[in-house]
Symmetry: C2
Subunit: 163 residues, 2 copies
């Protein structure tokens, strides 16, 4: 656009340079255990089926490593929706801090489902939360997800509780 350099970020414009850090924070919050964390490809696939929006693993990596950062609003919306944060999270410092506190709290919880719900709960009404949960459940049933994902995200321990 401006023909500005694209590698080193000139401090001239207060652009969204912290997007990479924000993204990494979110990922770390959702998957506190490094071993259990899926790669960017798997994570992107998860985002795709959860939000319906398209995103590639490679691009996720590019964003997380700061190689690309001038995303479009559509992508921003998809990311925000998946991680359960308001889109302003990527723009406003205060909002980011507030949400980050919530994230730390959620990380403390052991149960993956509760953690996930807690993340998505921020700023939503009870009705919205309920509707979301129902939709996700429906989607899973519809896709006939096998008893995989033993300790991954959405499903918890294998052959155990589960409503």
């Amino acid at each position: 656009m401006t023909g500005h350099e694209g590698s080193s970020v000139p401090p001239g414009r207060p652009l969204l340079r912290k997007l990479d850090q924000r993204l990494n924070d979110l990922i770390a919050a959702l998957y506190p255990d490094e071993r259990k964390r899926p790669g960017y490809a798997k994570l992107a696939a998860e985002i795709r089926q959860t939000t319906g929006g398209a995103i590639s693993g490679t691009y996720l990596w590019e964003l997380a490593t700061g190689k690309k950062r001038n995303v479009t609003l559509e992508q921003l919306d998809v990311l925000a929706e998946f991680f359960g944060v308001p889109p302003e999270y990527f723009l406003n410092e205060e909002v980011a801090d507030r949400v980050n506190a919530q994230l730390k709290l959620a990380t403390a919880l052991r149960d993956a489902r509760v953690r996930n719900l807690a993340l998505r709960a921020d700023g939503l009404s009870t009705e919205s939360l309920d509707a979301l949960l129902a939709m996700v459940s429906e989607a899973r049933k519809l896709q006939q997800l096998s008893p995989v994902v033993d300790e991954n995200v959405v499903d918890a321990k294998p052959g155990n509780d589960e409503r």
Copy 2:
């Protein structure tokens, strides 16, 4: 997924569909008098010299008429900076409403300078406001702009375009 119809937006994704309206609101707020309002080209030039970011008049029109709406963060930042609103204005309904109230109030004022300052004042500390004002004044002096605005915002010498 770019089935851009212009008017009817596929409700599949709660995208930023109101960007055109928001933009028009801002323009109308800044230039309440239709007669005195500069065209998109002039307005774009104004934005360019004020914020330093690049934007074309045609593109401004496309955004205002809803032909394009999936802007990048960089463009969003430039627009927000010029109009003196926080970037969340384009994302968050509540913020937009709150700021819109401020805009109406500011519109009531006759003096263009006060109106301008009022717009930019929202959410800023007194120090920031002061610094901004100083910078703008310096810029004006530097560009040898005519002795301040009469009722327009900035007066440009006819037939002269820099850069």
